[in-house]
């Protein structure tokens, strides 16, 4: 008996009468994390990890009806036992474990295995069926180890050239992860607009990060700005800036070059190919459904390695970021 099925509004659990990350408004939604492709507005009730509640309200509305749940606490919804477990993607990101009549399914949401001081680390959860993302489900995606040093070096050389360092990052997750890890002794760091707002939410949850400062000496400053600011009038107003982006897609030259960036840094809040395989392996699952990203290659690979695997498709693909 499958614990989840694909319905018009998304992944539905009949035993517990709820959806996981629905893409249309439903009566009860379990949200893996507060990124817009995963959290739709307009549901009557939301359930999410405690540390992700504030981000969710910020994303889709302060007056939501949200039930915050600590990681690892088991709830009973209908006949299903449901618990959330850290996914290591961003603050409050969770895998959803669903158990009914001895059968265990886990929905990964987005996840990474790499260490990140701003959120709880990914926790492998044993299950029979694992629903995994595959945003970077090809072996070309292998994250290098020295990206933070490369960013520090880029910032320093921009300072020597008297240039502003303008770094475009995902405003929720990556921006804070960088802020926590970049060498703040280098000079002032400025968090622009959405990055500033979300960083404040992180600080309220007790995440330690060096202060972000007002923009006083642009030629020495590293500015963290949302990906959507790339090419905006605000970004273009820096005539003497070096521009860069941080994303897993920067691993490929085409996406890097067609954005006319000076640099592309490879770092992601998603699992790379080796991490996807390791995570899948650690669940012990005999059945794997791949929900988004490079689904077909990962499914094919898993099948060749003796797993029961299939692709489950969402009606949309995530925008490249």
């Amino acid at each position: 008996m499958p614990l989840l099925e694909l319905r018009e509004s998304g992944l539905y659990c009949a035993a517990g009468d709820f959806y996981v990350d629905p893409w249309a408004p439903v009566s009860r939604a379990v949200i893996t994390h507060a990124h817009k492709e995963h959290a739709v507005a307009g549901c009557s009730a939301y359930l999410t990890a405690i540390s992700g509640e504030a981000l969710l309200r910020d994303l889709i509305g302060a007056d939501l009806s949200v039930q915050p749940v600590p990681y690892g606490e088991t709830l009973t919804l209908g006949s299903a036992r449901v618990s959330l477990h850290p996914a290591g993607h961003i603050l409050g990101s969770a895998q959803v474990r669903i158990e009914d009549q001895g059968e265990v399914w886990v929905v990964s949401g987005d996840y990474k295995l790499d260490p990140d001081p701003t959120c709880a680390p990914f926790e492998p959860v044993r299950c029979h069926t694992f629903l995994t993302e595959a945003t970077f489900g090809l072996p070309i995606f292998r994250w290098p180890e020295n990206t933070i040093e490369a960013i520090n070096g880029w910032w320093r050389s921009n300072q020597e050239a008297g240039k502003t360092s303008l770094l475009f990052v995902h405003e929720a997750g990556m921006a804070q992860r960088l802020l926590a890890q970049i060498d703040a002794a280098n000079g002032p760091i400025h968090a622009y607009d959405a990055v500033e707002r979300i960083t404040t939410i992180y600080r309220r949850q007790g995440v330690a990060m060096p202060p972000a400062l007002a923009l006083a000496e642009p030629e020495r400053t590293l500015i963290l700005a949302a990906l959507s600011q790339h090419g905006s009038p605000w970004a273009r107003s820096f005539s003497n800036a070096s521009t860069a982006m941080v994303s897993g897609w920067m691993r490929i030259r085409g996406p890097r070059r067609r954005r006319s960036l000076d640099r592309g840094f490879v770092l992601s809040d998603h699992a790379d190919w080796p991490a996807l395989l390791r995570a899948i392996d650690q669940t012990g699952a005999e059945r794997v459904y791949v929900t988004h990203g490079f689904r077909a290659p990962l499914v094919h690979w898993l099948q060749e390695h003796g797993k029961d695997a299939a692709a489950w498709s969402a009606p949309f693909e995530e925008a490249e970021a």
């Binding site: 090809l138 072996p139 030259r253 067609r258 000076d262 077909a296």
Partner: protein, 540 residues
Amino acid sequence: MKAFAQLYAALDETTKTNGKVAALRSYLAAASPADAAWAVHFLIGRRPKRLLESRKLVQWAIEETGLPEWLFAECHHAVGDFAEVVALLLPPAADPAGTSLPLHFWVEQRLLQLRDADDETRRAWLLSAWREMNEAQRFAWNKLITGEFRVGVSQSLVVRALAEVSGVSGEMISHRLMGEWQPTPDFWTQLVAPNPTAETQAGDAMPPVSQPYPFFLAYPIEGDVEELGQIEDWQIEWKWDGIRAQLLRRQGSTFLWSRGEELMTGRFPELDALAELLPEGTVIDGEVLPWKDGAPLPFAQMQRRIGRKVLSARILADVPVVLMGYDLLEVEGADVRERPIEWRRAALERIAPAGSALVLSPLVEAESWDGLKQLRQQSRDRKVEGFMLKRRGSPYRVGRRRGDWWKWKIQPYSVDAVLIYAQPGSGRRASLFTDYTFGVWDSGKLVPFAKAYSGLTDDEIREVDAFVRKNTIDQFGPVHAVKPELVFELAFEGIQLSPRHRSGIAVRFPRMARWRQDKKAEEADTIETVKALLKTKVGD
């Protein structure tokens, strides 16, 4: 190889011209002559030919990555570039610092030796190169092997960097880079040697006898032609649709160079015969044109000739060529490019052998710009592309320069067509759907009519890309059939009946003129409308 891979990465990383020139300059200033010569060779787009079959390269690369073939293919598809996907997939380098052997070692002792080595040796060399190199080096190396060494640097940027490093003028550098040369340390030394003075000019730094001059290229007229001032100040010629070429006759030898610096000597026996009639030390600039009974043949006729190794008597009789000469760059061995255009023209007329395959591009007489506009209406009938306007008194310059030469082309044909197939591009367009096939209506069905890749802005490309992803109705390999919804105005230069094309029509230089978001697919043109263009006489 370390510095060269860093140069490649630096060029790749910046989109700014100054940044690229600075990277080139600092590489060239520090490199040994042997490395610098090779770097210039590759940067201006030259490449060793046929080193090994790409099938074998692919096979060895796949073996070394340890991946199944299907997964390698998926990755290649996502990346869109063979050199890059191999660099990304090979096991991490044993030593992150990579190889410290110089570029010329890798090129001379490995790359060029691949051509004559047996497969076992080739494979061993490739694997050892990959294993000794780090990721950036592997990428540059793979680019060298596959001969797709494009890094977003134009020849003019390389010339600029060379001029800045050497203090020699850009014109002189351009000239020294023309024609045939071997990338040796000696070549490098000559390339950056100081400008010749009057005393050294006739001395030992003589250019090779085969060396052509850099072509002078015209800019298109964007505004009204009358902005050029008085018509009397301009020498006017028709713009011919042929192959731009320089014909050299020096020391009893003949060389025919295309604008892409391809040596075409021997491909046009008519022009070899012509060259023998020319005085010693002559260089003519002109257009190789298919020409019969005093008029050009359609360029497509020429294409019948170009591909052939052996030219039959029949094809020589069907599609004879001439050199439509319009400028003279060298007289009796002396460079005359600084002389005014009238002087060069008169000298060209003097040396033109009567009754030969040299036809002088006629000078067009018009009393006024209005008169010229009238005359321009005849362009299509005359099988020309419009006019060339050359400023009286001007010298023959180097490269594309604004001011003295203008091309005033007739408006292209245009047709509204529907996007029916899309496939991902390559290079910076990899993993985006950028290569499109368009259809026009034929009895209620869309029949493929032209392919086009250029003309859209990056934002438009992204929008079309998103459309393709959401509206794919079928897929054959990389080609996606899409819901026929988007209409584009396609512009093209020539149109011909063609039994080889499904629409029965072949067009020349199709590109997207604009996205007709105001039109529905049903409003696109029909094959009848397109065929009617075959007969049109509208010149403008």
